[in-house]
């Protein structure tokens, strides 16, 4: 391999060479002190290029920009298009239903109203119950966790490290036995 081109040296220093290119490059470096020296020069210069000091930014720079910001013009009735579109869709739906089924629009509106009311009257108690159960569950889990941590703390202060190790091993063994036991029972059930 002939001596390394300067642009290749730059790409090498910046980690931009592919893996085979890098390997070939390093093989040449190992046998060519001239290229190795030039590479070190470039490395030092690159370090200087990439570590130029930052330029001071005034403390009140952000405030100065903010003071010059114009207000972003926003439409006064930004919500209006959504309401108009929704109403138009509802009216079109009612009209379409009336044309297809022949039922009066008032009748259809009453049916829809009754349907929505039915769903709400079913959903509200259900959501309330779910919320209550979740609340109880979270409280129980919190109390249990706190008791467990406290118990472990007391246990670890009473037992020697060897005894803690033995207890952990025993716990692990019991867990394994439990898992195998459950699997056995499950397979007998089949």
């Amino acid at each position: 391999m002939s001596c390394l081109r300067p642009d290749r040296m730059d790409l090498y220093l910046e980690g931009e060479l592919s893996e085979p290119e890098r390997r070939e490059f390093e093989e040449h470096l190992a046998v060519c002190p001239g290229c190795a020296g030039k590479l070190e020069d470039r490395r030092a210069l690159d370090l200087a290029f990439s570590s130029l000091p930052p330029i001071d930014v005034p403390r009140d720079f952000a405030a100065a920009v903010l003071a010059r910001l114009p207000d972003i013009p926003r439409p006064a009735f930004g919500w209006l298009p959504s309401v108009v579109t929704g109403t138009a869709l509802l009216l079109a739906g009612l009209l379409g239903y009336h044309l297809i089924t022949g039922e009066s629009v008032v009748q259809v509106m009453l049916s829809v109203g009754r349907f929505i009311l039915g769903i709400v009257s079913l959903a509200v108690p259900f959501v309330a119950k779910v919320f209550k159960v979740l609340q109880v569950f979270v409280k129980l889990a919190g109390d249990l966790g706190a008791a467990l941590v406290k118990g472990l703390g007391v246990l670890s202060s009473l037992l020697s490290p060897e005894a803690i190790g033995a207890a952990l091993l025993l716990g692990l063994a019991m867990s394994v036995l439990l898992v195998f036991g459950v699997r056995k029972i499950a397979s007998l059930g089949e």
């Binding site: 642009d7 931009e16 210069l45 130029l52 720079f61 952000a62 903010l66 972003i72």
Partner: protein, 190 residues
Amino acid sequence: MSSMNDDSRLVKKALKGDRKAFEMIILRYQQPLVNYLGRMTGERETAHDFAQDVFLKAYASLDSYRPPFKFSTWLFKIASNHMIDHWRKKKIAAISLDQPCGAEDDSLRIQVEDHELSVARKYELAELRIRIEKVLDRIPDGLRELFVLRHVNEFSYEEIADIKGLPVGTVKNRVFQAKEMLRRQLEETS
């Protein structure tokens, strides 16, 4: 990636009129932006003024930012266009970004081989940085910009290609050309 999501969230809030969110954006990007503009203009005060202008332009067109793209890339695209406008107004002979920057790759390589320098060995790092700052404005604007984006702002070549709308290969070549010019300038002034 989280920074990207964070930027998108801040932009959304700013679009709803939340000035605090835009202030967060300013605080996040003021330093890199001033570093870039400072090296491009060579004047600290101008860099501050330009950075304010860039943030104001970004704010005015915030609704054109699309979250899949990086906010930093989008912001620096605005900053780069701001610099181009500035050069145009000042009628500085800025290098057209659609044309090669003087030396073609091959001819440059020959020059480089002749100028293989060891400037880095001659100076301590701190002194080298000062000298780099002094010669930075001697290289053409178009090349300097790509050098600054790469080595001061530490954008990847792909991100620079995105900011400037250039092929990645072209960006790599021009950053290399910029570094070689700097190296020659450093040698000439030593």
